[in-house]
């Protein structure tokens, strides 16, 4: 199978459209007949990342590379950056505002979910410059 490279623009500020890219990736992986567990793991990782970019960074880009052994998700934004990544990774820690919380987001479980559902996760963040989160899901 040839490798596949997908790139999506994630618009910022509008939580009502968040998740479109994740839905499209899910549909694509389904057509490619990946197992449902892999599809779900990729979907959760990407959706949480998308939501984070919308809430905290006014959007960004989401890239998905489908290889033979693994699927790599790269989420890049030019948002405010994460001052303390270790703190941000703690379950329940959030800086999301009331608007996000009213919609059911901002529980402080986004990054922990991404860590849980990926096999590898790396966060490169510089305050004032932006954040890139890279996640790898191994294909069984």
């Amino acid at each position: 199978m040839e490798s596949l490279h997908l790139v999506y623009d994630v618009p910022g500020g509008d939580l009502t459209h968040a998740g479109e890219a994740s839905s499209q990736v899910k549909q694509t992986l389904r057509k490619m007949r990946y197992d449902s567990d892999t599809i779900r793991r990729v979907s959760v990782c990407m959706y949480e990342g998308e939501i984070n970019m919308v809430i905290h960074a006014e959007g960004g880009t989401a890239a998905v590379d489908v290889g033979l052994d693994e699927i790599t998700i790269t989420l890049a934004d030019r948002g405010p950056g994460i001052p303390d990544v270790e703190q941000a990774m703690q379950a329940g820690f959030t800086t999301a505002g009331d608007q996000a919380r009213d919609l059911g987001f901002g529980a402080g479980m986004g990054l922990p979910n991404m860590k849980k559902y990926s096999d590898e996760m790396k966060i490169d963040s510089t305050v004032g410059v932006g954040t890139t989160v890279t996640m790898v899901v191994h294909i069984p």
């Binding site: 939580l15 009502t16 968040a18 998740g19 994740s22 839905s23 899910k26 449902s36 779900r40 979907s43 959760v44 959706y47 949480e48 939501i51 919609l103 059911g104 987001f105 529980a107 402080g108 479980m109 986004g110 979910n113 849980k116 559902y117």
Partner: protein, 109 residues
């Protein structure tokens, strides 16, 4: 048990019933914080929530639950209903509390 069986036996309001013949096999999950639901709702299960905004459709689609039940007589807002129709999400409603609805569901399965 199918989603239609569930709807009949729990007297649920079908806001959008796309596939009543879909089997419910994954149990259920009660929750309104979407990241918790994303992490924990079982595929082919039932998700009980009082959230009624459009993001419910995205989470239902990505977790692959068999249906969503809005409890406490909550009704979907317009964007959620449209999205459920567009994405083929089984979206039902109950006048019971989340607890009562989960208990009734548990007695069925």
């Amino acid at each position: 048990m199918t989603v239609q069986d569930l709807a009949t036996q729990l007297n649920l309001t079908p806001f959008h019933l796309e596939d009543g013949s879909r089997q419910v096999t994954g149990g259920g999950y009660c929750g309104d914080l979407l990241s918790w639901v994303m992490g924990k709702a079982p595929a082919d299960g039932v998700w009980l929530t009082i959230m009624s905004n459009v993001n419910v459709a995205a989470v239902a689609a990505l977790t692959d639950v068999a249906c969503v039940i809005l409890t406490e007589s909550v009704t979907p807002d317009e964007p959620l209903l449209r999205k459920a129709q567009l994405q083929g999400i089984n979206l039902l409603g109950s006048s019971l509390s989340t607890y009562q609805c989960a208990a009734a569901l548990s007695r069925l399965s």
